[in-house]
């Protein structure tokens, strides 16, 4: 398996490395969103996960929503995004999970209202980043609580030097990341093309 070269090129040309472990891709993914690039990524996720009976894409607000919606068009399925925190007009019962965010250095509770996820669902989890894997494990937990099947996990950018991949593979999940970063030490971005 190889990464999506287009995405790797974009990370090299427009990504910003901050310190030893933060990669900022606000130019095309997390603040400004290049929907044409997202289209190529969605097409690739479809190629990787087609034929598995996926009937729902699950992600978490906010950065996952764009890539999840554009990918969902290729599968002709709806998206459900987990919400962070509590909300006045959300008084349904929810599935909830606590997620520690490495970037924000805080724990957030994410939730999906029960009517929107259930045992009939074969889910593709989509997210923009995989680092320590906590957001992904939180989404898996919501799916498990709902009795839904996680048919695959599609990540835009994986920090291969953190523990997320190992945690997900240990649990037997089928993970594909479009770009896997081996190292950003010293501000130099190196990819692992051997996924």
């Amino acid at each position: 398996m190889f990464g999506l070269k287009l995405l790797e090129e974009r990370i090299i040309s427009q990504g910003q490395v901050i310190g030893d472990d933060i990669l900022k891709v606000d130019m095309f993914l997390n603040h400004r969103i290049d929907v044409e690039l997202l289209g190529k990524m969605g097409e690739e996720f479809h190629r990787l996960f087609a034929g598995r009976g996926i009937n729902k894409i699950v992600t978490v607000e906010a950065s996952g929503i764009g890539i999840a919606c554009i990918t969902a068009q290729y599968f002709s399925v709806p998206v459900v995004f987990a919400k962070k925190g509590a909300h006045r007009n959300c008084n349904d019962e929810k599935y909830i999970a606590d997620v520690f965010s490495f970037t924000k250095n805080e724990t957030t509770t994410i939730g999906i209202s029960k009517p929107y996820l259930g045992p009939e669902d074969k889910v593709l989890i989509i997210d923009d980043f995989l680092a320590d894997g906590n957001a992904c494990l939180g989404l898996i937990s919501l799916c498990e609580q709902a009795g839904a099947t996680v048919a695959g996990i599609g990540i835009a950018i994986e920090k291969g030097f953190q523990a997320g991949r190992r945690k997900l593979l240990e649990r037997g999940y089928d993970l594909h990341s479009l770009a896997v970063i081996k190292s950003i030490a010293g501000g130099r971005i190196e990819f692992d093309d051997a996924e």
Copy 2:
């Protein structure tokens, strides 16, 4: 101008009225996202705002992102979404505005980092809801600070019984809402097709 009938039908069949003023559309727009419906909405926004030289779509996280991304595909332009609150790996200088949320009953600061919006931009503002107009005025303020031109405002669902429309029209903005709700009193949803 008339609303998008498909959206009105969906609001009737799947919207939930809570109290006298909250309409919850978590089934297709704000939690579960029907990307096929969003495609029809994006197509309609393109029909309404084509030919104005729009080169950027601006929205606010989180619920605006899906509709903005899908609409952006029809215009072949990028999306920039305003972020809420502060964030560890966002240390660029930002344009910021305070927005009072009727639904959450609280004021949030929204911001767009300066590199992502500027005087060269002709912006279509897209959002899921228009009620009192505060989120929209916040986005307009960010555009003004950046020297960008607001070429149009496209709203999925407008609560026509609140003050948003008046505030935006008074300032001369070109506003189109795909569905305008006249009343939800007593749990009965009535549309205003006379926009």
